[in-house]
Symmetry: C2
Subunit: 341 residues, 2 copies
DNA sequence: CACCTGATCCAAAGCGATTTGAATTTTGTG
DNA sequence: CACAAAATTCAAATCGCTTTGGATCAGGTG
């Protein structure tokens, strides 16, 4: 059942039916009622492609994820973010177009999406320092929201981020207050913007107390369980091992916990751990009392909000760059305690 | 730059240009060359919506994920599966349309996707026993592939699954061979088809040796870390605790490991654990020697293959229901050992 | 040389909606 | 009651592509 047929059934022109259904004012109230009734009765649903060809809007949002490097993307965090964004989209009648693209095709792909108006807007995931995608998208003139920020890019653009610097600084201060002086930072890849900021927060806290940063106490890699395990093992084998760890991801923190278990250290007693926690559905940080002391911020909620920002931006492009900085909470769990004397 | 403009530039009709670009035979070789060259030079890319309106095909595949129950979907497994499928799609020029939909809207959503030809095909995730979606989609006549199967549905349909029954039977046998007699099964929700089959495999192994299944040694819930932890704690507190666990997911197995650590049991020595392992990118089962003895099957690869099957089915609907049963491997890690005497 | 065949190319009709510009019908006013 | 204004409705153009059903033209045939 298409528009023409529906119009014929009603003895009206397609024009009027279209207007009635789309809430235009110049249509008789009674006519509108009849049209709506008939549409319901015949399960009429406009063909989105025809609609989109006519209006130029696609009612879809694009998420491009780089495929063949494993970096940052195909991960649990991504799933939760997308789930949050998807909720927002479906409430607003938008579809989500996901493209898994080889790194070298990324630029071309963005360009294609924008130029052909395949999507009305884009979410940019996992920005790197100096991320070139931002300039590209500004240039293409398509609305987009970055999940995170890109240091070094000074164009105005819309983003939603958490306060990585401050929260890592707070977490470090917390450890220092407990008397820890050697803290290992198990971070993500440091060309990722968030990792850079987290490190900066960590360093600032050390610097404020005049503690020199020991390069041996830094690790940086994709945030897998194995990365956490390997890095912790390495640091614990140092002549002067750390008494605490600050970890950038729950999954890596689990690896750290495994490393501690390997050599019989009790977390929270012999050694302290604080982790960032994205509050993933399948990886909750304990039930009542949190397992890990953690910097917590729901990435699902971030997805919801980023999507809302993007839809606002699409509805009203003049509303200028939208930015939102979420403040994670620092929650105390069972993985921290005073530094052993 | 659209088709008409490109045609004008070349002094040709849109018809010919379209045919040249789409590889139709009735166009002069030299003309085709000129057209292709010009298309490249002007970065011509056909508008997919117009194309799709004209052809009736959308070049998109739908993945519908139920939103507001947390069940099975918004999870790391999903991310990896989608990444695999996405690789296949992008190679074939397909887009992936992801909808996060409230459970009660699911049927309506599927119907909309199919009737309006929004997508050319669908992947059905996380089938339940007697899953009603299969009959619905058969009825709607849209090509689809189920990731998993649905016991109780006897319509012919296409699916890709792993051999859950057999692999869980093998894993159980392995534990029994090691002398274990009380094995706890920490399973997913048992209205999920895969969980049902895993349980059946487990039971069959017990039955074959005349061991009665103890209801206290079953746990069934969404496969979170906490589920693993809580279930293991509960079973270990029994008067006759299990000497081994069989776990349906790496994440839950990590919870089990935490439970063991809580009470000072050494995994692999005091107690054995086998887990299913989807070989997730961010949650590898150790480096050289696997941490967990595991039933391993890459869900990313499953995504790739399911997508290929679906594209085949779309290209050639007559090729009938396609089915593929993958056999997971049973890999020996450090989490199993002989039953304590 | 007239006629038939292929090989090429093109005009025009969709696909299913929106939207512009006009044509109707109603309503209001003097 | 006639006429302008407002309220409704409609025909046709448009979005950018594919595809049907001819055209056109060169080469081969009898």
């Amino acid at each position: 059942m298409n528009l023409k047929e529906l119009a014929a059934t009603l003895g009206l022109s397609p024009t009027t039916v279209s207007r009635a259904l789309n809430g235009y004012p110049e249509v008789n109230a009674e006519t509108r009622r009849r049209v709506e009734e008939a549409a319901r009765r015949f399960h009429y649903r406009p063909n989105p492609r025809a609609k989109s060809l006519a209006t130029g809007r696609s009612m879809a949002i694009g998420h491009v994820i780089p495929a063949f490097t494993q970096h940052e993307m195909v991960n649990p965090v991504f799933a939760d973010f997308v789930a949050g964004a998807g909720e927002t989209y479906s409430k607003a009648g938008y579809d989500m177009l996901l493209s898994v693209v080889a790194d070298e095709d990324e630029t071309r792909h963005y360009r294609g999406l924008a130029e052909r108006h395949t999507v009305d807007g884009l979410i940019v995931h996992a920005p790197k320092v100096d991320d070139p995608r931002i300039a590209l998208l500004c240039d293409l003139g398509i609305p987009f929201v970055v999940h995170g920020r890109a240091s070094g890019v000074d164009l105005p653009y819309s983003w939603l981020d958490i306060h990585n610097t401050r929260s890592f600084r707070r977490a470090t201060d917390f450890l220092l207050d407990l008397g820890h002086r050697r803290v290992g930072l198990i971070n993500g890849l440091e060309f990722m913007d968030f990792a850079q900021r987290r490190r900066a927060g960590f360093m600032a806290a050390l610097a404020a107390r005049g503690i020199a940063a020991d390069p041996a106490l830094f690790a940086s890699d994709p945030m897998t369980e194995i990365h956490g395990h390997r890095s912790a093992r390495r640091m614990l084998a140092l002549p002067r091992p750390p008494t605490a760890f600050l970890v950038s991801s729950m999954i890596s923190a689990i690896g750290v916990r495994r490393a501690l278990a390997d050599i019989g250290l009790r977390m929270g007693a012999d050694i302290s751990v604080i982790t960032h926690d994205d509050d993933l559905g399948y990886l909750r940080n304990g039930e009542d009392v949190p397992i890990f002391t953690a910097i917590r911020s729901s990435v699902r909620e971030a997805g919801r909000q980023a999507a809302e920002m993007l839809l606002d931006l699409i509805a009203n492009p003049a509303s200028g760059p939208l930015t939102r900085l979420l403040e994670p909470e620092l929650i105390i769990g069972q993985s921290t305690g005073p530094a052993p004397t």
